[in-house]
């Protein structure tokens, strides 16, 4: 007699055989004692396995059911951590954020918020209708899809989405467009001839752009070489290789260029993000200048204040208000005049010529190129920075424990985390800038850039927690995680004190942790199980 094999019997018992085969087996076992016995033994084995596995053989650890917070305890570690954290946050605000905001105010952005500054007072909206192109839509669409994929699983909680939406709303709430601007697109030269007049905002894309006539509105230019010899009653906003303003601009000049030269009159402010900015001796600026550049030469007349962040600053003109200079080197020529306060913060002693006229003595603060390892202040500062990072990590654990846990695990997969980190480190700002330029995605662009910065900063927390886990072991519970975070961040902070290598370690940790966050977000977002 042909017996049925064991697997067929098991499948039969598990109800996995088709009806015909099952009927065959039933008929066989009614006649075959051996197979009957085997079936009985297999069924018994199944029950036996089930009983053995289901049996509650050991107590469930009580700490798995511990409440997450203890009402009556205030461990010193927490108090110290919050103390450090708060002090760190205060230091961060006081030393970095607040001065930057103040300097933006000085630069003439006081009437609007920082976002609006980035949006160039909403002026770009005016050209929106004509700037939509397939590429821009593709860029927007891709980024939108990416954001949706990343955050769709958290739709209900929606905190991240809320940030994005709020930023978008901010952008939407900007002053509405005044009307369609006059737009010219050319690969070659665009010239608004002398005597010609545009009674509208003018947007020009071109190689060589020359404005010799009058524009009764703003001028927004994207080109290689731009010359403004005529008269612009509004602002000039330029994205170009080199820009020369020889005519008259009644509003502001905002330039994102390689080289900016101002020889004419600017009614309000100059803001320049460039390699070289030259405010010529013939120029006259009504209000403030605000320069971010490698080389800044101020030879003309500035109505109010000059705020300069540069590699080298040469001042030989007149600043009627205050001078705030944070450059590597500053030289003040003999023909220079500063009517208000003057302060310099940099690495080298400023060179002030004998004939320079300064209403107040120049305040000089030399920043040491190397950290002062012998000063207690230096270590206090490091402790505060550690506190800031730790507080930030605590907030992450509190608000996004799942992501933190995933990111710490993802840190274990160094190649993937590092690869994603490098990729997103470069790609995110590019996408954010594209979004900002495409206008409709401005809110999204700014939000993603802010999230990017937060992500980069949080990188150290994930690597820190991972490092702590390697050192202390992977014990369960929030307290253990916090302990690991504190230790890991401390180790990273100490490693960063190493001369030269410290910077590299910072970069490595940031990329690694940022990549781990991306991997974690990916794992959180992807569908991991069937719910149907």
């Amino acid at each position: 007699m042909n017996h049925f094999d064991e697997i067929t019997c098991m499948l039969y018992l598990d109800g996995q055989l088709d009806r015909e085969r099952a009927r065959e087996l039933t008929a066989h076992t009614e006649e075959c004692a051996e197979c009957q016995r085997l079936m009985g033994a297999l069924a018994g084995e199944g029950r036996w396995l089930k009983e053995a596995l289901v049996e509650a053989d050991e107590a469930v650890p009580a700490r798995l059911f511990e409440p997450r917070t203890r009402a009556n305890s205030a461990p010193w570690g927490w108090i110290a951590a919050f103390g450090f954290g708060s002090a760190g946050a205060y230091t961060l605000w006081n030393n970095i954020l607040e001065p930057v905001q103040r300097q933006f105010d000085q630069a003439g952005f006081s009437s609007q918020n920082l976002f609006t500054v980035l949006l160039f007072n909403g002026a770009l909206w005016k050209g929106w209708e004509s700037m939509r192109s397939l590429v821009e839509f593709l860029a927007m669409g891709m980024f939108g899809i990416l954001m949706l994929v990343l955050f769709r699983r958290n739709w209900r909680r929606g905190t991240t989405l809320a940030v994005v939406m709020a930023s978008t709303l901010c952008a939407v709430a900007l002053p509405p467009a005044a009307g369609a601007a006059e737009v010219h697109k050319t690969a070659g030269e665009y010239v608004l001839g002398a005597g010609e007049e545009v009674k509208n905002d003018l947007i020009v894309y071109g190689g060589l752009i020359r404005i010799e006539g009058k524009v009764d509105g703003d001028v927004i230019v994207f080109g290689q070489s731009v010359r403004i010899d005529g008269h612009v009653t509004g602002d000039v906003i330029a994205f170009a290789r080199d820009v020369r303003v020889s005519g008259q601009v009644d509003g502001n000049v905002r330039a994102f260029v390689q080289s900016l030269t101002v020889e004419g009159q600017v009614g309000k402010n100059i803001s320049s993000f460039s390699d070289t900015t030259e405010v010529d001796s013939k120029s006259k600026i009504g209000r403030n200048i605000y320069l971010f550049c490698s080389v800044a030469a101020v030879e003309g007349q500035v109505g109010r204040d000059a705020t300069i962040y540069a590699g080298t600053t040469r001042l030989s003109g007149i600043v009627n208000g205050d001078l705030y200079d944070s450059s590597d080197r500053l030289s003040i020529g003999s023909t220079a005049t500063i009517g208000g306060m003057a302060s310099y913060k940099g690495h080298h002693q400023p060179d002030v010529a004998a004939g320079a006229k300064l209403a107040h003595p120049l305040e000089v603060k030399i920043i040491s190129q190397r950290p002062d390892y012998l000063s207690a202040r230096y270590y206090w500062h490091q402790a505060l920075l550690w506190g800031s990072a730790f507080l930030f990590g605590l907030a992450l654990i509190l608000f996004a424990p799942g992501i933190v846990s995933q990111a710490v695990r993802a840190s274990d997969r160094f190649p993937a985390a590092f690869g994603f980190g490098v990729l997103l480190l470069i790609a995110t700002p590019v996408v954010a800038v594209i979004l900002c330029v495409t206008l409709v995605g401005i809110g999204l662009g700014i939000a993603s850039f802010l999230l990017y910065l937060i992500g980069l900063y949080s990188g150290q927390c994930f690597v820190g927690a991972w490092l702590g886990e390697k050192m202390l072991g992977a014990r369960v519970g929030t307290s253990a995680l916090i302990g690991r975070l504190a230790l890991g961040l401390l180790v990273i902070r100490i490693l960063r004190l190493i001369p030269f290598a410290g910077g590299l370690i910072l970069l490595l940790v940031t990329i690694w942790g940022f990549g781990a966050l991306i991997v974690a977000l990916y794992h959180t977002a992807r569908p991991q199980m069937e719910t149907a």
Binding site: M10, A41, E45, L49, A52, D57, R153, P401, S405, R475
Partner: protein, 191 residues
């Protein structure tokens, strides 16, 4: 807790009630811990995994389809999590598909199997289970602890459905062998 009470607690937990979530955690925590204890090599791993599974479940409550039993969904999440953990540790699948196909399908001796069932205690079975390769152990736990169907097992372990039976049978063979070897050692030690 009745099914209706679980459903209500789930709805409240979805709406953000920590109390309702706590009730669910207390109700299912022990079962999930035991699941992890059977599936993972160490107690510490099981504790970690239990916490992480519940964190994950809480994050994903919105995805739960209320037409299915909550415990089944919970076990599915737990199975995926534990299997991911094991895979991350490079615990490679003990057998590739090719090996599964070459499994000898000899007729076992029912008498020997019956003896084994009567002689070995549940504790010995669990000890033997812990010595099995990860995938064999996982397959038995999914089937006999979580009552998962063959489809669910195939999905969780990433194997084709027709191989689930082979995988389970092989795991049972390995368990029997481990128990028999243990018995021999014990007999020798006692001799």
């Amino acid at each position: 807790m009745s099914a209706a009470e679980i459903t209500e607690a789930l709805e409240q937990a979805r709406a953000g009630s920590s109390e309702a979530w706590g009730q669910l955690y207390r109700l299912f925590g022990a079962a999930i811990f035991r699941f992890c204890r059977r599936a993972l090599p160490t107690r510490e791993d099981a504790e970690d995994a239990t916490t992480e599974i519940f964190m994950k479940v809480r994050d994903k409550l919105g995805q739960y389809d209320a037409s299915r039993p909550f415990s089944a969904w919970l076990y599915k999440v737990a199975a995926n999590h534990c299997w991911d953990m094991l895979r991350r540790r490079r615990v490679r699948q003990d057998l590739e598909t090719g090996d599964l196909e070459t499994l000898p399908l000899e007729h076992p001796d029912p008498g020997q199997l019956e003896n084994l069932l009567t002689e070995r205690s549940s504790q010995e079975v669990r000890r033997a289970l812990a010595q099995l390769p990860a995938r064999a152990r996982m397959a038995l736990v999914l089937r006999y602890y979580s009552d998962m169907s063959y489809d669910e097992i195939a999905d969780s372990l990433g194997v084709r459905r027709p191989f689930v039976g082979v995988l389970l049978l092989r795991a049972r063979h390995q368990l029997r062998e481990t128990l028999l070897q243990g018995g021999d050692f014990r007999a020798r030690a006692g001799a």
